[in-house]
């Protein structure tokens, strides 16, 4: 029985080695790129989780929309919502309105989604896009939190105020107000609105 002996030519083997080395380099680069992408993807939620407690310490949020309920503030006005030792303060360029902690009767929070492009201008822009492209734009939305504060004035009159905050902030405000002594009752939560796919 003959045993086949393979002769490796020195030129060929060096070429093969070169190819293998190149391949290994490419694979290494690919693995590195994939791992970078993977780490970046995994790290972002962690960084968000880590960032949340830091954000919660801040007692002032800008660009909060007061939907309705504050006297001398027009509906849907944007301003800065601050948590003071005495209660809540909503400030715009012209006005500043306080809701004292003692006057608060109840606080509700809820999650909603808002269109990325909305308002009269946004609606016009959407309708101007040809071939129904505005409907595609309508698919893009972001989560927000709604903070509803029920309070009474000096005469005992009921007031309800609705704020729209970035996601995760309303709960922080509610918890801090409760810690300050604001009244909160137990609520029967309606089912969360499902994002209905059109």
């Amino acid at each position: 029985m003959k045993t086949g002996s393979t002769q490796i030519k020195p030129g060929v083997s060096s070429k093969q080695r070169e190819i293998i080395r190149r391949l290994l380099q490419l694979v290494g680069l690919l693995v590195f790129a994939v791992s970078v992408v993977f780490v970046a993807t995994v790290a972002s939620p962690f960084s968000r989780q880590l960032a949340t407690p830091q954000a919660s310490q801040s007692t002032s949020i800008q660009h909060v929309k007061c939907v309705i309920g504050l006297e001398n503030i027009k509906p849907n006005t944007k301003g800065t919502l601050s948590l003071l030792p005495t209660g809540l303060e909503f400030a715009t360029d012209k006005n500043k309105v306080d809701i004292s902690t003692a006057s608060i009767q109840d606080i509700f929070t809820g999650q909603e989604s808002r269109q990325d492009i909305s308002g009269a201008g946004g609606t016009l822009a959407k309708t101007a896009i040809p071939y129904g492209g505005g409907r595609i734009v309508s698919l893009f939305s972001h989560k927000v939190e709604v903070l509803t504060v029920e309070s009474v004035d000096s005469n005992g009159g009921y007031h309800g105020t609705i704020f729209v905050l970035p996601a995760g902030k309303a709960t922080v405000f509610r918890d801090q107000l409760v810690a300050e002594g604001a009244k909160v009752t137990t609520h029967v939560q309606p089912p969360e609105p499902k994002e209905q796919k059109p």
């Binding site: 505005g134 939305s141 509803t148 009921y158 309606p190 994002e195 209905q196």
Partner: protein, 182 residues
């Protein structure tokens, strides 16, 4: 094409004129005549007078869940719109102690009847679905509890706008009733 004879032309013309007359008659019948228009109820024909109104909060019936922001938005929008009518010297809020001294106070109650939460995204993408609607019974009562006027109203947002816009729509309708009643 063969030209029409005089007789055929007259026949076609008469058919066309008959058709037109029939359509006109039908449209006249469909349009409500001023005399046939259902007049306002006898009690609403005579407008009520009151110097002040108090808007009371009413809890929804058991089994009807309405998000609190919708309820608050309804209340506050109605306060704004009723104030805008300028029919009353003062619009009191629920629980306001100073309203106790007003002799001719009218109390307005909004009793929730139904609520359907839609989706803004669905409305804007499909146009035909995702509407939000809120139905309430409004009651104007005197201080002693006598019902003066009662009506069912519905607020809707069908195409563009956030869900809370339904409460604005409802408040405008309440203001219209206030204008008709006082």
């Amino acid at each position: 094409m063969r030209p029409l004879t005089r007789a055929a032309f007259l026949s076609n013309l008469s058919i066309a004129m008959c058709g037109a007359a029939f359509l006109m008659a039908a449209s006249l019948l469909a349009h409500p005549s001023p005399r046939g228009k259902p007049g306002p109820a006898p009690q609403q024909a005579q407008k009520l007078t009151a110097s002040a109104i108090q808007l009371e909060r009413t809890d929804p019936p058991e089994g009807l869940l309405i998000p609190e922001d919708t309820r608050v938005s309804t209340y506050e929008n109605v306060i704004l719109q009723v104030t805008k009518t300028k029919k009353f010297q003062h619009v009191y809020r629920s629980g306001d102690r100073t309203a106790a001294n007003v002799p001719d106070l009218v109390i307005l109650r909004l009793i929730p009847q139904a609520f359907k939460e839609g989706s803004q995204k669905q409305r804007e993408v499909t146009t035909i679905s995702g509407a939000t609607s809120i139905k309430v019974k409004i009651q104007f009562t005197s201080r002693d509890g006598k019902i003066l006027v009662e009506k069912d109203l519905q607020g809707k947002v069908r195409f563009y706008g956030e869900n809370l816009r339904a409460t604005y729509d409802l408040a405008k309708k309440v203001a219209a009733v206030v204008n008709d009643t006082f």
